[in-house]
Symmetry: C2
Subunit: 416 residues, 2 copies
């Protein structure tokens, strides 16, 4: 008998009627002969309502108490869900994080799951019950309630699927799956049927909208097949699974973009050993996260340029910090930068076996008159920094150039 | 150092501003040199909101899941309270029922406390923290969440006070204490300064409005002094304590009434052994609670009358049930009754040492032309059934007759 973990987010359980619909959906799957474990988030809006209360209490709410507060949200949805199942004549039992010993570390508001005791869940599944577990929450060794941070219910679902060795973890959301690119700016965007864990991780900025990215890391580690799909239709969504031959046949799986970064260049930096550390240690000490770093070859005069990107919200702060740093390094060319850039990326495991993908990307952008100011590559990704205003054009052009709207490989059997 | 348990109900913690006020009040007491344990209910209205949700799920909500649902309410108030204390610069830690092992039986929605583990509470008090505990909730031996029923937070507070050997348990509410009678119908009603556990139990119908009566039983058992007082003023309320000499000097402590009963008479019942069992066994089997029972002396013809009271909501059902029962007993006089009656009672430990109290009551009522249809007495109480329309007149007349508006004994030192 297949064991399926299904996770429904806040909009799927936003009111009593919606919770009943979720119960119907779960029961339908159970009737097909599956053992069902359900993970629920709090009702949509509830976390904001509670956070508002907290902010009326304390400017920076105590994190231990914040976790006690926020974890009440799923307590409401899981008990209502269990009642709904029972009203339909079936049996169901709800468990809070601490009741199935979802043990985490003690990092309140962003805890990490360390272990799960599946005994009580299995016992109840074997008794024919649907088991519903509160997402997002756990308990530390001392018995304090913890929460896993935004999107934490996805992590709960994947962790439970891993611990229970479930056949699949289905994440229900308000979109139909993961797309080749953002459908809002490219109407040729196509739902991806199957994608590897690594590609999904690289597509973070697309994926984060439908799926918490930490849960993908977790799924990869324990090889849990994830099925991202819509709460509102019965159509298949996107399966996130281990890489296979079929995927390698597809060179590029998706085009993604990130408007959340800013670029900073320090020019005329003395090309000496230790110079990078002198610049980046104080930045790191100020809790500023640096993404891409590029250092040009010394052009002959003993000077070099250093370019890097930071979060757009850290742009001004980073520039101010650099004023003093740069003086100490003896850089002569000053600090330049832009906070109207976009990082545009193509992702695909097929790149490993195909050459010329990056140069195709550069040519395509160049043909449209789009200048590339930085380039960074990984084994399965090429990212370029371009001016923000070209974002939509670049996405559409790359989507066309790599024929992402076409089925490049024959459809194989899906996992269900 | 005195250890005080303070309990605040739903109206006292009804919104973030009110929770801050409660925090200020608790801190003030702590600054006087007390160790503070605080018990909170859910915000007023929250239990109704959640119950409404549950009724949309299931006609008769599953009781285990109902407890999961309802216990989320206090989780919100205790965490917000802890944040408020911390915002004022002091330290505080919140605990749910299961975190301080408030172990109950498994009677969901009306569980009874079996034990409390005070170790974590004491540890945190000794570290100088205010400890706030969720009222109303516990956990059974299997780790299922339970709730103690309406008014359960009072019971939590008293049980904690007992387990911690606290110096006092203060119950904050929206009235100033327990009154000699209902101030709404008798403007001479006077706040009682001190009253014994037994009197309080007999004054149930007055007391239930300010204090859950099960908690008084508990307090009596463990000799926990309870102080019922107003959230909104600093004045002393009513102390509910062990009986002492001073109380005995007061003959009548309070006048109470109950409009919630109905009277039924079966006349012409054959006066045979076993007749009472024949009548009351089927009534009890139908879950109808009988309060007073009076059987008249056989008047010489081998027949007797049987009169008793039931809850007014059970009146019609009881009469229907009796139709068949009465035929079997061979009663000849038929069934009569009234659901417009009131049970009016005078209560006082002083009655033990004073004679003539009952007859004074009868005379007083008679002088006003109020007919008494049933009488029942205990060691410290006399109850009479009268017509409902005389309720207010009877209350005021008895209150005057026993001079409840006067200080009959000199005020002694209070316990604080």
């Amino acid at each position: 008998m297949a064991l399926i973990v299904q996770k429904f987010g806040g909009t799927s359980v936003g009111d009593p009627e919606k919770i009943k619909n979720v119960a119907r959906r779960v029961l339908k799957k159970q009737k097909e002969g599956c053992q069902m474990v359900v993970v629920l988030s709090a009702m949509s809006g509830e976390t904001n309502r509670l956070t508002d209360f907290a902010l009326q209490m304390q400017d920076i709410p105590d994190t231990r108490e914040m976790d006690v507060l926020l974890s009440s949200g799923e307590q409401v949805t899981i008990s209502l869900f269990a009642m709904a199942v029972k009203a339909f004549g079936d049996d169901c039992i709800s468990f809070l994080g601490d009741q199935v010993k979802i043990i985490t570390d003690s990092s309140h508001t962003k805890a990490r799951i360390e272990s799960i005791d599946t005994e009580r869940i299995i016992e109840n599944l074997e008794a024919g019950k649907i088991v519903v577990v509160a997402g997002f929450q756990g308990v530390d060794e001392q018995g304090n309630i913890t929460t896993l941070g935004r999107g934490g219910s996805d992590t709960t679902a994947v962790a439970l699927a891993a611990a229970l060795k479930a056949d699949a973890c289905e994440i229900f959301t308000d979109v139909e799956g993961v797309y080749t690119t953002d459908p809002n700016i490219c109407d040729k965007a196509k739902k991806i049927d199957r994608i590897s864990y690594d590609e999904m991780l690289e597509l973070a900025s697309l994926g984060a909208k439908v799926l918490d990215i930490r849960s993908v890391t977790f799924a990869k580690q324990y090889n849990v097949p994830i099925h991202v799909r819509s709460t509102f239709t019965d159509t298949e969504g996107t399966w996130i699974v281990e890489e296979d031959k079929e995927m390698e046949g597809r060179i590029v799986s998706g085009v993604t973009y990130n408007k959340n970064e800013a670029r900073i260049t320090i020019s005329g930096v003395p090309d000496q050993p230790g110079i990078a550390a002198k610049i980046f240690t104080p930045i790191s000490d100020a809790d500023i996260i640096v993404d891409m770093i590029i250092q040009n070859q010394d052009t002959g005069n003993g000077l070099t340029d250093m370019t890097f990107t930071v979060l757009r919200s850290d742009f001004q702060r980073t520039k101010q910090l650099l004023e003093t740093i740069v003086k100490k390094t003896g850089a002569t060319g000053g600090i330049h930068g832009s906070d109207t850039i976009t990082k545009i990326s193509i992702v695909g495991v097929g790149m490993r076996n195909h050459s010329g993908i990056a140069s195709t990307m550069f040519s395509v952008l160049s043909r449209e008159g789009i200048n590339i100011s930085m380039i960074s590559t990984s084994e399965i990704k090429v990212s370029c920094i371009i001016e923000e205003k070209y974002t939509e054009l670049a996405v559409r052009t790359l989507h066309d150039a790599f024929e992402l709207d076409k089925d490049t490989v024959p459809e194989e059997e899906t996992l269900t």
